[in-house]
Amino acid sequence: MAEKGNLRAALAVFWSFFGVRKRRDYDDDAQSLTQAQIIIAGLIGGVVFVLTLLLVVYLVLQFVK
């Protein structure tokens, strides 16, 4: 149950980075997720975003070489 909630928080954060969310999904999030879950997921999301970008940069540089 808790794992499902964490996955849901991760999904919510992913959509927030894109800036779009369906009204129905958003209502479900508001019902089922706690503020703490969202904040922790947001911070982890920020770290994952940076790491993903670093990976992309690494791959681009490999390709250029």
Binding site: S16, V20, G45, V57
Partner: protein, 526 residues
Amino acid sequence: MSDAAHAHDDHGHHAHPTGIMRWLTTTNHKDIGSLYLWFSLIMLFTAGSMALLIRSELFEPGMQLMHPDFFNQLTTMHGLIMIFGVIMPAFTGFANWQVPLMIGAPDMAFPRMNNWSFWLLPVAGIMLLGSFWLPGGAVAGGWTMYPPLFIQGGVSYDLTILAVHIMGLSSIMGSINIITTILNMRAPGLTLMKMPMFVWTWLITAYLLIATMPVLAGAVTMLLTDRNFGTHFFNAAGGGDPVMFQHIFWFFGHPEVYILILPAFGIVSQIIPTFSRKPLFGYASMVYATASIAILSFTVWAHHMFAVGMPVAAQLFFMFSTMLIAVPTGVKVFNWVATMWKGSLTFETPMLFAIAFVCLFTIGGFSGLVLAMAPVDIQLQDTYYVVAHFHYVLVSGALFSIFAGIYYWLPKWTGHMYNETLGKTHFWLSVIGMNIVFFPMHFLGLAGMPRRIPDYALQFTEFNQIATVGAFIFGFSQLVFLVLVLKTIKGGAKASDQVWEGAQGLEWTVPSPAPYHTFETAPVVK
């Protein structure tokens, strides 16, 4: 208004001081909001006059009116005052007036701290402006305070560091107040996800301020110790690194850009639905986009310093992250347009400024994307293209949203409708003047004219002359705004409680003008 308010106060609380003491000792959120807004308006005219002096000098090549060092002082002080003395206090003024009214709270959470937050600002403002009269004049190294120039200057540099500390303190206290008010004092039933967008954007801005102001304080403290106590944080001769200052400064500076624009997004998100007579399209998306812009704003700082030299991997990283932050910003622009789509639009002055904001801020956003590309940025770094870019973001973005907000809420604050003809005159003069000043600067920058210089090569003359004419149109049109505000305070048609036909929210349920004390009994939101 005041008579009714005083009569009310006499039977519950202690009597209010009057005259100057009312304003010095006030803990009322409406009084403090007005103080912030007046301070901001005075500073707007002060720093705006500096801009007109700058543009006068640049009307023709060669030195015409002033010594080059005074020109540098003007550019530096214009930037510092416009950012810390105009845009930030104006938004805090809006927050003070509107956040309690919009969430159904009787006042801010910490009213005395609120008073102190405001009264620190004039102290800092006097320090900054007073430094013009010190030996060596005011600071002249640019508002970004880069060493080594900032380590070498005279006593006004120390004074500026102190002023920045004081303004940072004021911002942090203001932010603590806003966060506590929003999280703890909302009316029953007003859940976080029912809050008006303006309240959301300020909540997120307040967190950004608390996260970044100490970074700025750290950077300027290191400057202070380098200047006075023999440290060498930024002195290459002593083993320090001036580029480290740029990293620390822009780690504050880029979130600061969003501190200056997120409340503007909030104001525009209130106004467009009202005059479209439709709810905001994609409210949840807007909240999410605001939160993600805030988080991503910490990952893009070095795009301000592509030209200082950094590994290609770092250039790529900051280039990609900067481009990606355009995604949630673009979502917002689409949402505003979608809100207007098939709405019953009317074009009162607040709506005109809001629409101008959407169009012109987008131009500033696009030129930002151009500058995000490291190879292009290395060409355009420190040219007038950058000046054009950030003025489109800060003048037609932040400042226009402030005008929009004033026109929108002024009837609620004063109880009088403003003069629509004067308002529209102000709008058209501002929007035309603003574009005449700043659009030619794109061409000047692309042609290679550097920024922050008092003299230039002959081929740049015509575009500079056009910009100067536009600056005077734009500058003097602000007098129309001043007249309008004074006239509205003095009298005018009586404003209804609702004021605008399509307006939604708790602030429109209280009488116009808003009484001195509101929501002493919390309203219930369904």
